[in-house]
């Protein structure tokens, strides 16, 4: 059933702007990083070896990708829910023989899936840029696949509570200004969360910072809390009358 719902959801976003956003996000992030390199190419200190080049590159892209992810997830969640809000299609969808919790899960999964696609693209664009940079610097070495995947997917997984939260807010509220505001504030908070907040504050997790210097802790906590938020949102959605 969930697969059917997801396939219907994918059909509904055909020719929608959200696809452009999914592409533009990672493209913008890597493009901006490339621009930064291009501007100071002539006088920058050359990295000693290929490994150093990649780690500089990935941390640079990572710090740009983080706010993009946090704002992007709010916008994508709002857009996917907006498809139903715009033309008051909730009442049509929910009068069909589908479980309400599956409809909610479908919206969450669609949002998560679109963001996942963005992360895949981020890894791809980073790879292309890294290879280009390496060859123009004359540095040749193996590509740190693990680091690349970590850069692309750890923050995504650690941000799961926010994906679930935004999906929930966007789905239950007709006025999308509220969830978008929550998303923007969340992004700003997380930008400052790094040094100031204790480890248990979820806004710190997507940056993968914790006292043990173990990114996987942040990832694990994010996935776990994401699941909790998702379930709470789902039960609230099922309980409510349809607008």
């Amino acid at each position: 059933m969930l697969l059917r719902i997801l396939s219907a959801e994918l059909l509904k976003i055909r020719r929608k702007l959200v696809w452009l956003l999914v592409l533009a996000g990672p493209l913008g992030v890597v493009g901006l990083e490339a621009l930064a390199y291009a501007l100071r190419f002539d006088y920058m200190i050359r990295p000693a070896d290929s490994a150093k080049m990649w780690s500089d590159l990935l941390s640079g892209i990572g710090s740009l990708a983080l706010p993009a992810l946090l704002i992007g997830l709010a916008i994508v969640a709002s857009m996917t829910a907006g498809i139903e809000h715009q033309m008051n299609a909730w009442k049509m969808t929910l009068a069909l023989p589908v479980k309400k919790r599956h409809v909610f899960a479908g919206k969450f999964l669609l949002t998560a899936l679109l963001l996942f696609v963005s992360c895949v693209l981020l890894a791809l664009f980073s790879l292309v840029f890294g290879l280009t940079l390496g060859s123009s610097l004359g540095l040749h070495g193996s590509v740190p696949i693990g680091g690349l995947l970590r850069e692309a997917f750890y923050p995504y997984l650690a941000a799961m509570p926010f994906i679930a939260l935004q999906a929930w807010l966007s789905v239950t509220m007709h006025n999308q200004a509220v969830p978008l505001t929550v998303g923007i504030v969340g992004m700003i908070v997380s930008l400052f969360a790094g040094s100031r907040f204790p480890d248990w504050v979820p806004y710190k997790w997507p940056a993968l910072l914790n006292q043990w210097h173990e990114p996987l802790y942040s990832v694990g906590a994010g996935v776990a809390l994401g699941l909790v938020v998702f379930l709470v949102g789902m039960f609230e959605f099922v309980r409510k009358d349809v607008k």
Binding site: A8, R14, M87, W90, K91, M92, A95, P97, V98, V242
Partner: protein
């Protein structure tokens, strides 16, 4: 009584409170299989709220709903598999064309792909199937909504004010469409409206709701009977005929355009006709004339002339 056929929609004391007001109050609907049930009431009477509860979109504050003899709270999915609906204004995805809109719903229903072309043909949108729906006229959107409702081959079709906002031609078209449905597929139809005249010609049963309460529910004929019929007489020189009839004690009325007699049995009418013929009037027509159902409806719902 009305239980000549199987009851497929039954509510018992259906009540909904919204924002501290009782919007639907103790409603007992009974809709038989094959009925075209006109669900009538002025604006704000509680039609949409009732329909939302029937579809499981809203929970009753109290009362029970049984559809196909199943409890909506326990077997919502099983019920909805056999129900097609259109609630208030149509829902659609504007950037998609008509076929894609239907496909999005079809994927959830698991209906065969061929059904899309069938329902498009039923609502006569085959020609427009490839156009984005946001460019559709309201009537076309409404027809697409009906096509969507028909997609799963429903046994019960619930249409909430399907002619709302349409021009007379559009209203006529939707009405013809709905009238043609049960004949072709044997479905039961619940159709709401705030105008009796709109469902009068197709409904077999009528429920009237006002201020949240069901104040009438019976066959349409019973409603017609309540509309006190008058007999209209088409005769040569009606004014003189009127005076003649009055002089013989018949309850005739002449309003300068037509000669009528109120509530009269067959023998009285026969007496009137022979009296007229004997007095050398030419009798062209003797016909039953119904007081408009609309006026009874207005009387019942106690709503103002604004309707």
């Amino acid at each position: 009584m009305t239980t000549k056929s199987e009851i497929i929609v039954a509510t018992d004391g259906l009540t909904k409170r919204l924002g501290g007001r009782t919007v639907v109050n103790g409603v007992n609907l009974a809709i038989g299989r094959g009925d075209i049930y006109g669900f009538l009431g002025p604006n704000g009477a509680g039609k949409t709220t009732t329909i939302r509860m029937l579809l499981g979109l809203a929970r009753p504050t109290s009362g029970h709903i049984r559809i196909f003899d199943k409890d909506i709270r326990k077997e919502r999915l099983a019920i909805l598999r056999k129900v097609g609906s259109l609630v208030e204004y149509p829902s659609y995805y504007g950037h998609l064309n008509a076929t894609e809109n239907l496909e999005a719903v079809r994927r959830l229903l698991g209906a065969p792909k061929s059904r899309i072309d069938e329902v498009l043909a039923i609502v006569r949108l085959t020609q427009e199937a490839r156009r984005p729906v946001k460019g559709f006229s309201l009537g076309m959107k409404q027809r697409l909504g009906i096509a969507t409702a028909l997609l799963g081959n429903p046994e019960l079709l619930v249409l909430d004010e399907p002619t709302n906002g349409l021009d007379p031609a559009g209203i006529q078209e939707i009405r013809e469409l709905i009238k043609s449905l049960p004949r072709t597929s044997g479905v039961t139809i619940l159709i709401s409206s705030h105008l009796l005249s709109e469902v009068e010609q197709m409904a077999t049963r009528v429920g009237i709701i006002a201020k949240g309460e069901l104040i009438y529910q019976d066959g349409i004929e019973r409603l017609r009977e309540q509309a006190q019929g008058r007999i209209r007489l088409g005769v040569s020189d009606p004014e003189a005929a009127w005076q003649l009839l009055l002089s013989y004690g018949y309850p005739a009325e002449w309003d300068r355009t037509k000669l009528t007699v109120g509530q009269a049995d067959d023998r009285t009418i026969a007496g009137i006709v022979s009296r007229l013929v004997q007095s050398d009037f030419q009798v062209y027509r003797v016909e039953e004339e119904h007081a408009s159902l609309e006026s009874i409806f207005l009387q019942m719902t106690g709503s103002e002339a604004s309707l």
